[in-house]
Symmetry: D3
Subunit: 143 residues, 6 copies
């Protein structure tokens, strides 16, 4: 097991986009839409938690390289059946930022769960996946 | 927005069980089963990452209480179509450990993704959900 | 230098309230009030940052005991001349939570600064102080 | 809310200097000057806490970029009425280090408070502000 | 692999004492004794680093329980041939604090190395071991 | 005390190799070799803990610069009398990675201790030292 050596790779602009969803009851979704969640602003908290978690990725994922991130954006929006999350992470470094984008989505989804769990313990986090990746030797990847 | 006051709740034994899956290509799954993943022991790394992440839950989820955990177990196993993760977290405290169990599952799933992403970038993390919760005022909850 | 032994103290309900201010230009304050800060919701971000920082207090302050927190609330509001922050932290433990309340205020104030610094680099963080403390051997303290 | 993309900015040498004060009773100040603080070397502990906190800035401030720091210096000295703190942070990166300097000052001030709070709970942290900033597109800024 | 469940154990006062040494050249040792180390107060920095690291033990050691610590003391002193470190950690909890004491010694030793490495890269950290342990079912253990 | 300014140094490829040992009883060693340690895979857990700790070095060692790491490898193997650990850390940056390599060895050794302490509390961590360092102004250093 090792964190592979990327010292000979080029520093290039790299982008990764990941998405995910939290499926929930109509009652829970209604609370978000009405801004009536007792614990506060679900969307805002989830976005911040996602951004902050992307920065902690190398602390959480054993073989992830600690790198600088040049930009992170996390969008959280309601849609039929629940909440949809989309994270875009950018760097200018020797290794990609897929894990940072996926970690941002995961933490945002967990935060949504946390803030609504007293209303609906049965929520399901699903569809966490990479949508796009560019930069670096392997080029562009789109789902 | 606030971390709700649980100071008047009783310290009781509490348990939470969460599960999740990583859906992957046959090629990726075969590599795990054959122990041929270049980055090393996927199952072992995912279990450790899950355990360690459960301890970081209050660092990641804005409104989670920092509490002692009395036990954490993370099981990761292959099954048709991918990998299945199950986390059991226990505490003797004033608040439940659902978020710790869900966070453990999420980090284990992200670690599986990280270790196999060079083989299959299209993997999907799905079905992260609470299975069981006991202890505390709200009693037993089962999916 | 040592983290003093509190093992013989009683576990009691303890509360600490701290406050602080960020003094800023009229232009910066107007942006917050109009919800026109480019970086987003200043009040919401500052509240979350304050709550999360209170949980990191023992990581930041060398001789602070790592303890459970039973509740944390951070209020951030505009007032003439700037923003006012008030943090209330509670625990049921052997040591007080003054540092956790002061750390929450500090992090919330720094977050306000960060989100508005492109508008006003001259902002000043001031008046970070304890307002109230109760529980434990030393009893109630009010400013 | 997003951590703005700085990927197109130039890596340049950047410096930020921030200052702050802890106002305290004559008794508390006298203890520091006499080296009689029960908890130990206040000045030394505050300097280290400030340096270490500057490195944790992106963990604390939601929209701060995680970057390398090339140098950090924290000075803590007594002056009439209390303690004065000055932090100088340097980087060679795409974004400034004002927040790192302000965070260093804040953590050093909180550490001073922590080490003296049994003598004077009424201490006030004040005047945390940027003094100087250079490097990057916006050029030199002096208070 | 799991963090074993200690939920049925009793909360008792527990103590662990660990020691270790950094063996160094006469030149390096002389610098410490003369207070002439360019980077600053070695003894003070090592003590603080040890205390702070003891609090991070569950972040570093995969199967360590996150617990409250009631007291931590780290002594660092010169002796013939180098520096000797002794950490005493106390808790009132369901599990022992050997790892916290050993981690404190390790971090203090690493800090000594860091501050003197420009003088002597050949220093050796050695003899990190438990000296004493009490409290809990297994009773008193002395080396 | 300060984190020295390395902003004028060149970014070069730098490598550091450190080693260390855990001396243990025949019974403990036998358990590892037979794969019979109750807590699980000692070698695997120690390797991961070492890699993860190398990334936390600037959080633990007060004057260490936060830098990107391009590669980390931790080998843990049994040998007569105990376990031997070897960490290799690489970066392309302005400062060396000796502390990251030594920290990786220390955390791996502590993890070995943790997983075997119920069998042998008398284990000793010893011989943590730098073996090799290259890159940067001071050139190659070998023990």
């Amino acid at each position: 097991m090792k964190m592979v050596d990327v010292g000979d790779k080029q520093k290039t602009q790299r982008v990764a986009v990941a998405t995910g969803r939290v499926r929930m009851s109509a009652a829970a979704l209604k609370k978000i839409r009405a801004g009536k969640v007792e614990k506060g602003d679900v969307i805002g908290a989830a976005r911040i938690a996602g951004i902050m978690a992307s920065k902690r990725t190398p602390d959480l994922i054993p073989l992830c390289h600690p790198i600088s991130l040049s930009g992170v954006e996390v969008e959280v929006r309601t849609r039929p059946g629940g909440v949809e999350i989309r994270a875009t992470v950018k760097t200018v470094d020797r290794t990609g930022v897929e894990m940072e984008a996926l970690t941002a989505v995961s933490a945002a989804a967990l935060t949504v769960y946390d803030m609504l769990k007293s209303t609906d313990r049965g929520m399901v986090i699903e569809g966490i996946e990479l949508q796009h990746k560019s930069g670096g030797r392997s080029g562009v990847w789109n789902r």
